[in-house]
């Protein structure tokens, strides 16, 4: 009997997992004992970190998009459809464009994050962002059109993808303006929801003096609850108003409706065992990447490491062996500190991040990684 492994979501986690499984279980697939299907609601694989660079005209959205078929092993079936429900008792997936449900033996939910700016009144009309192709292009055009003024970067939503990106954006913006001889014409402000400039205290301690040294104003304890696009103000629930000429917001995020619909977790995030990545209370269901509530960042590197763990566990299970691989929380992030410098952090459940002094070499390492990402997704790197 063929064992069917279904993966929902063709982002970093789902794609790395599919390729990793195809490699590990190649013999079983060839023998017809295992079948792997990757479900995705679009034809492409998207590499989201490119968008930060789109905002500064250094990359195009097309640089972060390739057909899923090009990056996924041929031994994996790709099915373009939207999975809207999981019947975990019958072990079936319900799809929008299929009359019959699809049976699975093992399921991995890798549905990622979606933007939900409508949560904050006025944000859609009053704010820009770099968390999507269209948003990053609109922001690029807006930045190029400005001669001067007050640019506010506000972290509105939490949790959000890539917790370092807001800091990267303001550091890059500052440098970008200085390189063009325009910094004096601009005022920059960074707002954050808690009493420091980043949720992680080690990164906050590292970033705070660097923001001050760049003359980037800091507004902490700022939880935006409304934006007035006409008055050009953003208001926090703590009672503070900030005026802006250009608002760059990190919008609120949500998980997939599928997770809510299937009862796998609240808010679109799957409650998982943080080490085994098994969905709590459900048999034969895993979650990885942004969709899994693990306490690590919603970041591609975390999804990648989690995918490797689940690939090992599923391989063991398919072979009737005990699954021993566990996820220790490993996350790796490059952090741009300007247009030409970057730092790097690596941390896990036990070891906190410890950013080092930024270097030009690390910046080029990040760009090199972005270029080689396509090999990573294919499991070649």
């Amino acid at each position: 009997m063929t064992e069917h492994i279904a993966i929902v979501g063709g982002g970093t986690g789902g794609t790395v997992l599919a390729n990793n499984l195809a490699e590990k279980l190649g013999a079983e697939i060839d023998a017809g004992d295992v079948e792997i299907t990757l479900f995705n609601d679009g034809p492409d694989h998207v590499y989201k970190p490119v968008w930060l660079y789109v905002a500064f005209g250094q990359r195009e959205p097309a640089d972060g998009r390739r057909p899923l078929r090009e990056v996924v092993d041929d031994r994996v079936d790709i099915r373009q459809d939207y999975v809207f429900n999981v019947d975990h008792d019958k072990k079936e997936l319900e799809l929008v464009d299929a009359i019959e449900p699809v049976a699975y033996d093992k399921l991995v939910v890798a549905t990622g994050s979606q933007l939900d700016p409508e949560q904050v009144p006025g944000l859609v009309d009053g704010g820009h962002h770099f968390y999507g192709e269209d948003g990053a292009q609109a922001l690029r055009d807006e930045l190029l059109a400005m001669d001067g003024g007050h640019i506010v970067l506000s972290v509105v939503g939490t949790p959000h993808m890539c917790p370092a990106a807001p800091l990267e954006f303001v550091f890059m913006l500052d440098d970008w303006l200085r390189e063009r001889g325009r910094r004096d014409a601009f005022e920059l402000t960074y707002t954050y929801p808690i009493m420091r400039v980043h949720g992680n205290e080690h990164i906050a301690e590292w970033a705070h003096p660097r923001l001050e040294a760049r003359d980037i104003a800091i507004e902490t304890m700022f939880n935006a609850e409304a934006v007035d696009p006409d008055a050009k103000t953003i208001t926090a629930m703590e009672g503070t108003d900030v005026e802006y000429d250009l608002l760059v917001a990190i919008p609120p995020h949500t998980g997939s409706d599928l997770i809510e619909e299937a009862g796998l977790g609240d808010g679109g995030w799957v409650d998982v065992d943080k080490h085994t990545l098994e969905a709590t209370g459900f048999e034969d269901i895993y979650a990885i990447g942004d969709a899994a509530q693990t306490g690590v960042p919603k970041a591609g590197s975390a999804a990648h490491y989690q995918a490797n763990v689940v690939a090992q566990r599923l391989t063991s299970e398919v072979r009737g062996q005990p699954a021993t691989a566990v996820y220790g929380g490993k996350t790796v992030c490059f952090i741009e500190t300007g247009m030409d410098d970057a730092t790097f952090v690596e941390f896990d459940y036990e070891r906190p991040p410890s950013p080092s002094e930024p270097t030009r070499a690390m910046h080029w390492s990040k760009l090199a990684y972005n270029e080689s990402y396509w090999l990573t997704a294919r499991g070649l790197l």
């Binding site: 939490t158 949790p159 929801p193 808690i194 009493m195 949720g199 992680n200 304890m221 929380g329 459940y349």
Partner: protein, 82 residues
């Protein structure tokens, strides 16, 4: 505020034990944004700093910390959205 035992049942639980980045307080804020006024959210955190940070944030944001307990290995902090 420190109590040995919490008898109040929360409406929602945010289990941030082991949370690395952006951390327990950010996880709590994300949940509080989504719930109705009057909801009590329990934050479970193994970072001792959470006990002071949550109190400081709640005071400024106008929410109420209704209980804090050391559960042995982690802390339970109840916050009511006002």
């Amino acid at each position: 505020m420190t109590t040995d035992q919490i008898t109040e049942d929360p409406d929602e639980i945010v289990d941030a034990r082991g949370a690395t980045c952006p951390g327990p307080l950010m996880d709590l804020i994300g949940e509080l944004r989504a719930v109705e006024t009057g909801t009590v959210v329990a934050l479970l955190s193994d970072n001792e700093n959470s006990t002071t940070e949550v109190q400081e944030w709640a005071d400024q944001a106008g929410n109420e910390v209704t209980a804090i307990a050391d559960e042995g290995g982690y802390y339970r902090i109840h916050v009511k959205k006002l």
